[in-house]
Symmetry: C2
Subunit: 442 residues, 2 copies
Amino acid sequence: MSDQGSQPDQPADNSARNLDAYRAAYAERTAGMTASEIRALFAVASRPEVVSLAGGMPNLAALPLESLGAEVGRLIAEDGQVALQYGSAHGVPELREQICEVMELEGITSHPDDVVVTAGSQMGLDMITRIFCDPGDVVLAEGPSYVGALGSFQAYQAEIVHVAMDDEGLQPEALRQAIAEVQQQGKRIKFLYTIPNFHNPGGITLAPERRPEVLEICRRAGILVIEDNPYGLLGFDGKPHQALRSLDADNVVYLGSFSKTFASGLRVGWVLAPLAIREKLVLTAESATLCPPTLTQMIVSRYLSTHDWKGQIKIFQEQYRERRDAMMTALEQYMPEGCTWTKPDGGFFVWLTVPEGVDTKAMLPRAVTQRVAYVSGTGFYKNGFGSRQMRLSFCYPTPERIREGVRRLANVLTEEMDLVRTFGTVPQRSVPGPQAPSPDTA
Amino acid sequence: MSDQGSQPDQPADNSARNLDAYRAAYAERTAGMTASEIRALFAVASRPEVVSLAGGMPNLAALPLESLGAEVGRLIAEDGQVALQYGSAHGVPELREQICEVMELEGITSHPDDVVVTAGSQMGLDMITRIFCDPGDVVLAEGPSYVGALGSFQAYQAEIVHVAMDDEGLQPEALRQAIAEVQQQGKRIKFLYTIPNFHNPGGITLAPERRPEVLEICRRAGILVIEDNPYGLLGFDGKPHQALRSLDADNVVYLGSFSKTFASGLRVGWVLAPLAIREKLVLTAESATLCPPTLTQMIVSRYLSTHDWKGQIKIFQEQYRERRDAMMTALEQYMPEGCTWTKPDGGFFVWLTVPEGVDTKAMLPRAVTQRVAYVSGTGFYKNGFGSRQMRLSFCYPTPERIREGVRRLANVLTEEMDLVRTFGTVPQRSVPGPQAPSPDTA
């Protein structure tokens, strides 16, 4: 991560842009390309003196690196001519079978042929957008939503329409309303992108009783559902929620990942899709990367067959629960009055709402000066909302560091609120309503 | 590869397409998506009784798998928390430095900041197309050209215009003419895509004296040059050609790969690009995969620093030369009169032209029945040409298998030519001229 700081944001004014000799040659989609807010933060957040509550890096300290290293060494020595050779764009067959077993934990019945392995779940997201979205097409997504998804939608010039959440997740009524409004404008909605479990960045979960309703609304409107579920097995009560895909095999495309349940640096994710879409995915993957790395797929496959992966997930669950608890306790203890936050039952993230007048984006440099980092809520919306929110992640720092980070953040916030009281309220764009939901349901 | 046969070609007729419930929802670019000819062949070619002269899989038998396995085992055991964690979209810094050293062998002076690591060179190609090509933009490419590149150009709805080659590679005069013709039509040319060394599928190399001329033509016309160079270090006389990039740092984007000089299944390639384009590449890579796999990058980096990688390349060169020689000898011995072929000085491929009347695409099923596979030339053109050509690869089969494969192929061809003599010549689309060059310069 250390070199991310060397990537400047794209210059905004014309004089600066004229320095780019290739400017006139770019495709239309390239013009809108800007660095994500999270990305610019990696540089500061990586300094050791800063407690970073910003990143979404999983905690790998608990992995059995010795035995894993030995296993991978054997894999290469004994089976290297396969593991180091090109494979198919569809993915390693044995791994696709194992992926079906993993998905069974969430009630999904599937066939290995319908699984396409990807170089990380982001690649699945990018390919789905590429397959479905023409410029100007509409994608529905929770507000807030995963910044990497918003980036992919924007990269293919899709228009993002946010749908409100509350503490039970996506609101069916807001979904109906958004669909009606977009259709009234004569625009085509290509899909609903949703993270039903332990939402990034919202930290909330779609209530089981809402799931059939959301699916029914989309099915009636002819809208595909993209279910992004990287955290599904990381619930703190140990019992996974039933996937949307388990309730509707025809109208849901499911995105899964080993990044959070095993190792993010292998970049092994997958898409489970109905036959016709799966065929398009394989063709798109050939064009995008020829095939995902054979070695990393075989490593995951070996890990699943030789290690107690379910036991490892339990260890992760316990660690993350301990860190969630540390964050909850610290927030209760330190946060000034007027702050509210979500209480996640799994995953990596808490969504914090600050009192009116405080701008989390403007405050961030002052927070970093006081050695704590977070992600401003504005990065998770495409319409400028979220300036009264921030995402706090509890996945990577130790409980002690989390506690210290929250304490520092509370100090910064308290100073900021003093300034607001002294100099008056700065106008905020974080208006409540269906277009600007904040899942601050603490 | 064994499961590729389960991917049927896209149905061509409307009644079959109506079976796809999502058809109306696809993006425009998805409509044109079809399986490549090479892909459909993997299934038949993988049967052990068939001598496959079709695939481009490198021969990994010579890799030091024992010591490599031990090294990777140590890497994971000792440094797993980095190797298994997310990295930056830009790539692992140490590897980017080493890549600059690799490129020095071809006369390239570069800075690690300008290198973007990709999940295989195909990903670089796909991203460059994505960054530059709007639908209808023109890409110039040698005729024939790499099928994966043509696939990416088509995926972004670019129009491909082929430029003729002869035994000295891309013809400058044909390039001038193609540029003038396209510009007269009022279309925008975004770049020239070229494989200057040991061309895939042509098996020929751009003459050193033509290189400055090609660069100058493109520079004057304001056309970027994409130099794809996966085989550059696999020349049989051991002395690499000077890269186009070494002659023009501002107007050349260089694509490199470890797939042929080390291990294809790691999917580690790179793009060397001028600053502004490199920044777009990093942003595009974030959207496409977040980051390339950290582990595979670190494996390449470790390999380069702990193994005699230059010595290994020499071993590869010797192996491939031996196989090239076996193919040349067999072609001389067995091929019926009227066949001509290129004589590659490096790389993986020979381009064979058959006598008039024989259609290589139509003949392929009969060849497979007689247990030999190749790729019909039509896959390497976007305009239906190439039916009198085929690509033969000598990279993967042993010399004995190559000899047997060529013998079988010659028998099939002889039978085919008998048929043509008996029943008359079938009209061919492989017309000579700048739009349908055949580098059959044997």
